[in-house]
Point group: C2
């Protein structure tokens, strides 16, 4: 059995929606004991989010993100609920939360309180605008971060509207930034014995990813980078193009790529064409460049174009839809990006043959591979097991249940 990177690490995943659960999923995939903490009355909001498994109605939005986690559910407004949460904090290595700033303090489990209970705890908060600064109070979902971080202003077509990325890039960047901070802090804790405080904002995460666009503002007379459609500003041809059936992309990064593309199109003379001799010239003559490429693509399908260009050693790709992605064996099978998890114990009829299909983890580490285990259970499914591990007795559990502190 291969090593698992996070064996022995306990992560409290007190999160809902997308960013927090996505990050908790990484720790579960890496072998941590990830405990999902939910409100015992309603559970996570996204337990009701579509799509749902047709056999059982359980949310596959939720199950993809929460595979491999154990589930505890408590009423945090009761003193007993707080006692349970405190025991969880004392037992844990990492806590991830994505509540609005201030909520954790009001519950009695802000950073200072938790650090006092467990100085080794690494405490990570993911929020729209961060824990500090004049915007901290503002609620922020992914769409807000894509808007206020600047991403929408640079996505879309020059003559069209500001456009969000179809991926929840604010949530995802936020999750992964918190992940880097947590793992770096776990490393450091081995040297110092001390926990850490991590504060990641979705907006900041988008701003960081704006990189060269912000540099352009400061170094080119406050020029405001706009929307370029599918073109990039630094290379050419680096764009989508029409074939006879649909569009595809060519990503020629260098003059060498352009030369290979000219040969592949059967027009070596374009290499010497003064309109196309270097990147800057090709960018300036984009209209003509697109004409000569489209003259070649017009009688071919996108797949044919990509095959020819790929053989020539120039980066090109079809624009995959979801079905293309999940049925490409190079992605789904070779790279294990479509994988199965065991159905939850309480829902053996879920999925197919007792297995649910989920998306694989993108970090491939052959010596310490990701492992996907079992889908998570219902709200509080592991209450008894986890509370007994924490030292609570059967009598206490019965009392908690009677008082509706747990379900």
């Amino acid at each position: 059995m291969a090593d698992r990177l996070m064996e022995g690490i306990r992560v409290l995943d007190f999160t809902d929606f997308l960013a927090g659960p996505y990050l908790g999923m990484y720790f579960a995939d890496m072998g941590a004991d990830v405990i999902k903490i939910e409100n015992c009355k309603t559970g996570n909001f996204t337990r009701n989010a579509r799509p749902k498994d047709p056999n059982t109605g359980i949310s596959m939005y939720w199950n993809n993100l929460n595979r491999g986690k154990r589930c505890v559910a408590i009423d945090l407004k009761t003193p007993e609920g707080k006692e349970i949460f405190a025991e969880l904090v004392k037992s844990a290595d990492v806590l991830i939360e994505n509540n609005r700033p201030g909520v954790m303090d009001r519950l009695g489990f802000g950073w200072e309180a938790c650090n006092e209970m467990n100085p080794r705890l690494i405490y990570a908060s993911i929020s729209g605008f961060g824990q500090t600064g004049r915007n901290a109070y503002k609620p922020g979902y992914d769409l807000i971060a894509q808007a206020q971080g600047g991403a929408m202003s640079v996505t879309g077509w020059p003559d069209g509207e500001a456009t969000r990325s179809g991926l929840a890039v604010g949530d995802m960047f936020g999750a992964l930034n918190a992940g880097v901070g947590i793992c770096a802090s776990l490393y450091k804790r081995e040297l110092t014995g001390k926990g850490n405080r991590i504060d990641v904002a979705l907006v900041d995460s988008i701003v960081s990813a704006m990189e060269a666009k912000i540099m352009t503002y400061f170094n080119e007379n406050h020029k405001i980078y706009g929307r370029w459609g599918n073109k990039y500003s630094a290379s050419s041809p680096y764009d989508s193009f029409y074939a006879k059936d649909t569009t595809f992309v060519i990503a020629s990064g260098t003059d060498k790529h352009w030369g290979l593309l000219c040969d592949a199109m059967g027009h070596p003379e374009y290499k010497e064409d003064p309109r196309f001799c270097d990147t800057e010239t090709r960018k300036k003559n984009d209209k003509y460049l697109r004409e000569v490429i489209h003259a070649w693509t017009a009688d071919k399908t996108a797949a044919e174009c990509v095959e020819i260009i790929d053989k020539a050693g120039v980066p090109a790709a079809r624009i995959y839809n979801v079905e293309d992605v999940v049925t490409d064996p190079g992605i789904a099978i070779d790279r294990e990006m479509i994988v199965k998890v065991k159905a939850p114990a309480a829902h053996p009829e879920a999925g197919e043959d007792g297995e649910l299909t989920v998306v694989g983890n993108p970090i491939k580490m052959p010596l310490t591979p990701m492992q996907y285990g079992q889908a998570a259970g219902d709200i509080g499914a592991d209450n008894t097991e986890i509370l007994k591990e924490l030292g609570f007795t059967d009598e206490q559990l019965a009392d908690f249940r009677e008082k509706k502190v747990i379900n």
Copy 2:
């Protein structure tokens, strides 16, 4: 002086373009000794990428990503260059490379060779399609990953073309995934003494971020998720809207948010309106929903709308352009997302008052804050210093320079 998370960790950053340098930047910000390794003849391709500092012409695309690194430059085709590279490998904790799969092996510095030289080395490769599988040979830039990972098919307008995100989301997700893998492996190495192999593909990173869209395919009769413009499929109203001057976004996640929005618009009766009573109904009656919202926004600016909705406690935001982002004190100052680094020693006239403006790191850790130090130098600027640290003598350095092994 605050602790720095990566103090004492040496990272070899043998990368170009965006993903690898962006990740190396994180380690430099966290206090690692990051050594940028370049070809001594040409240096990084992106040292020529715009935008450029107007005073010196140095690339600020490059300098944003490479602040805080030291620069070594060698000719890896020579035996002496290989000897220097081997000494660097032996001295390092982490190596990041983003060459096309196979290149490192041909140079003699693939994973197996480096692992033999230094069993504690954590060796991370970032590539378009990964190190394994039938697509491994294919070159892949960000545009290719956005196309073949499925992101473009879900970005843009229902009646429009597949659209790339204006951010290089393939590169960024790839960088951060490798970052999680590296930091997790640094933690684990403290327990085992062993290095690790990390293989991240831009395409896989995009596929993972497709999450619910892929779940929809497998659980709703192979339905192919398309382009939704700025709407989300799970909430309503959660979209961009027109004000009298420009567009802005509202991200109402729940029925409670909708109720607060109705009150803020002065139309509490919409709360009882059967067209709008819950999320599914509002989604179905989107046309009417947009009509009633636009009736209210028509005589207000986007800023006025956002101010009113924000006060009501409902997430809303202006769609910031780059200038809005960098001049918002809540982002630039309070969250330290616009910061300064010292100009490189060889270019004291760079920037303003000896400082260059760059983008702050989005991981905020008050106990172990990011620190930005100095802009990196020219190609091979730290050759002498680094090679002497490795134990090479003045005589050897002179010999290397004569043979053009280093610059």
